[in-house]
């Protein structure tokens, strides 16, 4: 474990010195982790590649601002990739701030059907959501952010965040029903 930490530390020092080999090593070490996040916010692989490209450029340019005492390198990189993914979604969608929802009925979803579905099939369902609803659903259900945090990230109200989550659940329910009946 200590050897891995030492290796990461050496890699970070290389990145701070703008050493290309160290930067490549960091990129390759975190490629899978970052790409999995990028795919959740993209419509296809090309979108994901754009998110990855922009995120890693930001990572290398601001590597000096990483503070190990404030959190892990994984968490820091995840935050940058998620923000880049949200910027990507924002670039193709306007986030309405007028939609408010405080209470929402929980729509029933057949979990057994979901369990049988593959990851790509589920991702295709999520991708069909409108961009803003897609972003809120992924942030809430996958990344684990609460509505206050989502509201801050997307610069919307908590009510709007709840409305988008409700819309995501309704739409997913309908799509899963169609899959079940089909």
């Amino acid at each position: 474990m200590q050897a891995v930490e030492r290796e990461t530390e050496t890699m970070l020092e290389g990145c701070l010195a703008n050493n290309r080999k160290a930067q490549e090593a960091l990129y390759r070490q975190f490629y899978g982790f970052a790409m999995t996040i990028a795919l959740r916010y993209s419509r296809d692989e090309h979108d994901a590649a754009d998110i990855m490209n922009n995120a890693f450029i930001k990572i290398f340019k601001s590597i000096h601002s990483y503070d190990a005492s404030k959190g892990s390198l994984h968490a820091w990189i995840k935050r940058i990739v998620v923000n880049e993914g949200l910027d990507h979604i924002k670039s193709r969608s306007r986030f309405s701030k007028d939609l408010e929802l405080e209470t929402v009925p929980e729509p029933p979803v057949n979990n057994a059907v979901l369990q049988e579905m593959g990851a790509e099939e589920i991702m295709n369902l999520v991708k069909r959501l409108p961009p803003a609803t897609h972003a809120v659903f992924v942030l809430y259900a996958v990344e684990g952010y609460n509505h206050r945090e989502i509201a801050e990230k997307l610069q919307i109200s908590e009510g709007t965040s709840k409305w988008h989550l409700s819309e995501a659940r309704k739409t997913l329910q309908k799509q899963i029903q169609v899959q079940t009946s089909g």
């Binding site: 990145c15 701070l16 010195a17 703008n18 050493n19 290309r20 930067q23 490549e24 990129y27 390759r28 490629y31 899978g32 790409m35 999995t36 795919l39 959740r40 692989e45 994901a48 590649a49 990855m52 490209n53 890693f56 450029i57 290398f60 340019k61 601001s62 590597i63 000096h64 601002s65 209470t103 929402v104 929980e106 979803v109 057949n110 979990n111 979901l114 369990q115 579905m117 593959g118 990851a119 790509e120 589920i122 991702m123 999520v126 992924v138 809430y140 259900a141 996958v142 609460n146 509505h147 709840k162 989550l165 409700s166 659940r169 997913l172 899963i176």
Partner: protein, 196 residues
């Protein structure tokens, strides 16, 4: 509303298992190209945080101050050793010489027994000065510039303004005496006494 449903947990779990596209090398090539443009290798990257003052930094600052002081003293010493600006003035005076007699056009005799002093055509590098004591002689006096060296502030003050036709007219020398009266009019001719 704020609790994750079972199916959401399932979705989150499934999305972690997404197959990765084989784009690792292609994306790195793009990143590397952009980094080569934005952050050329070896320039310290984005580490633009100010460094704490160290012993080496202090030495550098001291050395820089010393060099600056030395250069200032050197410049001041050189300035005081420089020769008086009259040396340059002499060179400029040589450059501003009067036209040779061949360049001066022949005088024109006008009716009324009066003479006009033809002025050389204005050209670059020549100066016409209102000369005193222009007589009725047919040749214009040679024009020379003898500036008082002591009063000239610098050699650049000798650079003449461009001459125009108007300035030539203004500098036309005054004629002495009353116009239309020549020397012959003042000649005293002794009258012959009658012998008778």
């Amino acid at each position: 509303m704020n609790k994750k449903t079972t199916y959401e947990l399932t979705i989150a779990d499934k999305l972690q298992q997404l197959p990765l596209p084989d784009m690792e090398d292609a994306i790195w090539a793009r990143i590397k190209t952009q980094l080569d443009l934005d952050l050329p290798e070896g320039d310290g990257g984005g580490s633009n945080t100010p460094q704490a003052p160290s012993g080496g930094w202090m030495w550098s600052a001291g050395l820089l101050t010393f060099v600056a002081a030395f250069l200032t003293v050197l410049l001041l010493t050189k300035k005081s050793d420089q020769p008086a600006p009259t040396d340059n003035i002499d060179q400029n005076i040589e450059a501003i010489t009067a036209p040779s007699p061949q360049q001066i056009p022949a005088p024109v005799q006008t009716p009324g027994n009066s003479t006009t002093v033809p002025l050389p055509a204005p050209s670059a590098g020549t100066i016409t000065m209102p000369s005193e004591g222009i007589s009725d002689s047919l040749l214009a006096p040679p024009l020379t510039l003898q500036p008082p060296v002591d009063t000239l502030p610098s050699a650049t003050a000798l650079v003449p303004p461009p001459l125009t036709q108007d300035s030539l007219i203004k500098t036309k020398p005054k004629t002495r005496g009353v116009q239309d009266i020549s020397d012959a009019d003042y000649r005293i001719v002794p009258t012959k006494r009658d012998s008778s």
